[in-house]
Amino acid sequence: MTRPIASGRRRDRAYAGVPGWVMGVAAVGAAFVLLPLVAMVTRVNWAEFVPLVTSESSLDALGLSLRTSLTATALCVLLGVPMAVVLARTEFWGQRILRSLVLLPLVLPPVVGGIALLYTFGRRGLLGQGFEALGVTIAFSTTAVVLAQTFVALPFLVLSLEGALRTVGTRYEAVGATLGARPTTVLRRITLPLVVPALLSGAVLSFARALGEFGATLAFAGSLQGVTRTLPLEIYLQRETDPDAAVALSLVLVVVAVVVVAAAHQAGRSGGARLRGSS
């Protein structure tokens, strides 16, 4: 969202006029982010690391986290792409307010999101009662975890993609339309291919957000090994009795997050390169 799409204009590199003090402050900022990670690594009990992270409860939590985060990311793409397209390409009354509202989970404390979900999908919730009547219980199920993760992660995808759609503009789409392409064809052949890098980076942000989801899950889904206890919840619980296990699992979470972000960055770059090559 903050990173513009990888436009790959190498000429930008020639610009070297960054003032020294900006570099200095940037270094302080980087240290502020990295130092706590280093501090955490220094507390890892390496002798016990492997048994700690391969215990049954740890593996259950990691597996559940990966499964639910991937499902949540898929849901984010499914719902988020149309949302971004509508927000970027149409104008209607109340659009600005609607945009602010759908992005609300970005700024909402996750636990508030969890409470709101509870009142929607809970047994006595707005929709939950209907589901209950159909014999579907969402409370305390893995579905509840996915819903909580999707709720907090969706704005990241919408925001990245909407920004990219606005930057790309509508010229090509207009040309396509004048040549007789139907709206769906324009969307599939022109609009979406232009924003593939932003879609990828948005999906990665969503995945990372879903992976780290804690507050909404705790408030809405509960915590049971293998069903609703994701890695962040397992870390929170382990910390009560076994700080070593909590630190070890925290490190696993950091590594997974770093790997995912790096992989997506790579994918985003090659996606961008393919696009440039074809245009």
Partner: protein, 274 residues
């Protein structure tokens, strides 16, 4: 014991009438009247000043807030800073150097951790309260829960604490004692989360402390069960060895373990120390 000093002084200030009497009877808001009623005997006690930081288990929030107000009213020069969190969080914070003068834990394990770290003297902890589990159900009690055994029935959504936290250890102990095997739909990391699942109607029943049921008021119904006697939670309190204000810390602990403390804790559902 501070209280008894004050009681002896009562006749001397009887002329002040109702206002002072109200202040003395435990209403913490009467600061001005209380100051006027300050008897000379307690001048040494009121010499306590500065501030003390009390780290207390989350379940003590209501009672310790009330007690701190009363204590401050008795010692106008002193402020009591309260921090509430899960006992194990507080232990971590104190062990990492958070400035605390007094630590009140919801279980003996967490107190023992600080004794092991030499942050609390080995003989310092004093037991001041106990708490037992109750079954909390929504007011309508949709599943007709009456006993602990009812929680093991199929189709009853029960929420308990995870075994890693004190309320979960207590839940496991009562299950063993009763020979009941509950398959919970969720194992929460705090008793507040268990209560939340019951008050919101997500769960049919939960195992929480008696004090939580009382604090929740009409939002839940509490059901006592005999097996709860098998897992009585004991609350210890102690001064932290490198606290900044040891004299005031000890005075506060005396206050909590004394008559005033007992009265407030009892009203909230805490049992007397064993």
């Amino acid at each position: 014991m501070l209280r008894s000093t004050r009681r002896r002084a009562l006749p001397a200030v009887a002329v002040l009438g109702g206002a002072a009497a109200i202040a003395l009877s435990g209403c913490a808001s009467g600061g001005a009247a209380d100051g006027a009623a300050q008897p000379p005997e307690s001048s040494s006690a009121s010499a306590l000043e500065g501030s003390i930081t009390v780290f207390a288990a989350a379940s003590l929030k209501g009672t310790f807030t009330e007690l701190a107000d009363e204590f401050e009213a008795e010692h106008p020069g002193l402020t009591v800073e309260l921090t509430f969190a899960g006992s194990s969080d507080l232990v971590t914070q104190i062990a990492e150097g958070a400035p605390a003068d007094v630590f009140a834990s919801a279980d003996e394990n967490n107190m023992a951790k600080l004794v092991d770290e030499a942050l609390i003297g080995p003989d310092a902890p004093v037991e001041f309260a106990t708490n037992v589990l109750q079954i909390a159900v929504p007011p309508a009690n949709p599943q007709g829960i009456e006993t602990l055994a009812d929680l093991a029935r199929a189709g009853v959504a029960v929420v308990v604490c995870a075994p890693q936290v004190p309320c979960g250890a207590a839940a496991a102990a009562v299950e063993t004692a009763a020979g009941v095997d509950i398959a919970p739909v969720s194992e929460e990391s705090s008793v507040t989360d268990v209560l939340g699942k019951v008050t919101s109607g997500e769960a049919d029943a939960g195992l929480v402390y008696l004090t939580d049921v009382i604090a929740a008021g009409d939002a839940v119904r509490g059901i006592a069960f005999p097996e709860s006697a098998e897992a009585v939670n004991v609350y210890p309190i102690a001064p932290v060895t490198d606290g900044q204000n040891p004299e005031a810390a000890l005075a506060f602990i005396d206050f909590v373990t004394g008559a005033e403390g007992r009265a407030v804790l009892e009203a909230a559902g805490f049992g007397a120390a064993p």
